[in-house]
């Protein structure tokens, strides 16, 4: 644990801009700067993220750390910064953790791979607007991992459920719905994430406001698939 004092922080600075200023000062003194991940700096890429006083992405609801501005703090405040902690997120350095476990969950089933030939007319596939809206809401997940960090069990349920829901609500996602649930949940557990016990911390800290309902949908899809789905055994030539 290292303590830094930073005078003259402008309230207009974003949190990461403040860290940039800190790092510039450290570099000038020949000290090691604080390592943290960032990319878009506008709340959409999912790269940035760490705990501020025990809360992923800090005190502002529905925002990432890059969207947090220093006007939300007071002169003299003490801010404890920690990386997202989970067994499945090994710490690389300082505030940067390895979240490729989330990529492997998506690779396990977070996609639609049905062959549609050339792109069909969007209007040819009827879908209720509410379903499309719910799917869009679930698709808003940026994969930052705040849900994992805030969960007392370090469960990736909200993340996995968001992707499962996004595709389960769409006509294109129906064909693979059961195998998607089985494979993604299996991957999630294999990575070492914990189980969901309905604590609800994830929804509270999610910068995109992903709803807990998605976990219910994942559980339903998973249960149904666990009972009914069987891996196909295609004879040669059918692949």
């Amino acid at each position: 644990m290292v303590r830094y004092e930073l005078p003259d922080v402008s309230e207009h600075m974003s949190f990461l801009e403040m860290l940039d200023v800190l790092n510039e000062g450290l570099a000038r003194k020949g000290e090691d700067p604080v390592t943290f991940e960032h990319d878009c700096r506008e709340g959409i890429c999912g790269c940035c993220g760490f705990m501020i006083n025990g809360v992923p992405h800090g005190p502002q609801r529905g925002t990432t750390v890059c969207q947090l501005h220093m006007r939300h703090f007071h002169d003299g405040d003490e801010l404890w910064l920690e990386p997202f902690r989970a067994a499945a997120f090994p710490v690389i350095r300082d505030l940067m953790v390895d979240r490729s476990a989330l990529d492997r969950i998506i690779a396990a089933g977070g996609f639609v791979s049905v062959n549609t030939g050339s792109a069909p007319d969007g209007n040819a596939l009827p879908i209720v607007k509410q379903c499309a809206d719910m799917s869009m809401d679930a698709a808003a997940c940026i994969g930052c991992g705040a849900c994992v960090a805030s969960c007392p069990n370090a469960s990736a349920s909200l993340f996995t459920a968001a992707k499962i829901s996004h595709l389960a609500l769409l006509p294109q996602g129906q064909a693979e719905r059961d195998r998607r649930a089985v494979r993604m949940v299996a991957q999630m557990l294999e990575e070492g994430f914990g189980y969901c016990t309905n604590a609800g911390e994830c929804e509270a800290v999610c910068p995109k406001g992903i709803k807990l309902d998605n976990i219910a949908r994942m559980n339903r899809d998973f249960l149904k698939a666990a009972v009914l789905f069987r891996e196909e055994n295609a004879p040669a030539g059918a692949a």
Binding site: L26, A27, P33, I92, M96
Partner: protein, 123 residues
């Protein structure tokens, strides 16, 4: 974003000095043994110094205005871009010739088969 020969030549003259100072004077905290974002950033600045000079050379060599490349010496009376399709209807591909040596300009001609070259009017 208008470019002119004088400004481009001045930039090409200045950049090698900036680059030399960078390599002589850069300070990268930390080591190369672990993840080092300062090293990453220094590498990016080194790349920008190379790329910046190349962009200036390319802009100087293309004596016409085309798309986002606007040479003040090559514009119509209304201030629109004036292309020179006779001399510059090609892509310029620059080839590295070694440090301290100017890169070589290779040319890949552009052939338009179905869409014919014309001057667009923005009025």
């Amino acid at each position: 974003m208008g470019r002119n020969a004088q400004g481009l030549e001045k930039a090409i003259g200045l950049i090698p000095g900036i680059r030399e100072e960078f390599w002589r004077n850069v300070n990268v905290p930390g080591s190369g043994e672990e993840l080092n974002q300062s090293l990453e950033r220094a590498g990016r600045v080194a790349d920008f110094l190379e790329l910046g000079e190349l962009i200036c050379r390319d802009a100087l060599a293309r004596e016409e205005s085309c798309g986002a490349h606007f040479r003040e010496e090559h514009q119509t009376e209304e201030g629109e871009a004036r292309r020179d399709d006779e001399k510059f209807c090609h892509a310029a591909v620059w080839e590295y010739q070694g440090d301290g040596t100017a890169p070589a300009r290779n040319v890949e001609p552009l052939n338009f088969e179905y869409v014919h070259l014309a001057q667009r009017s923005y009025k």
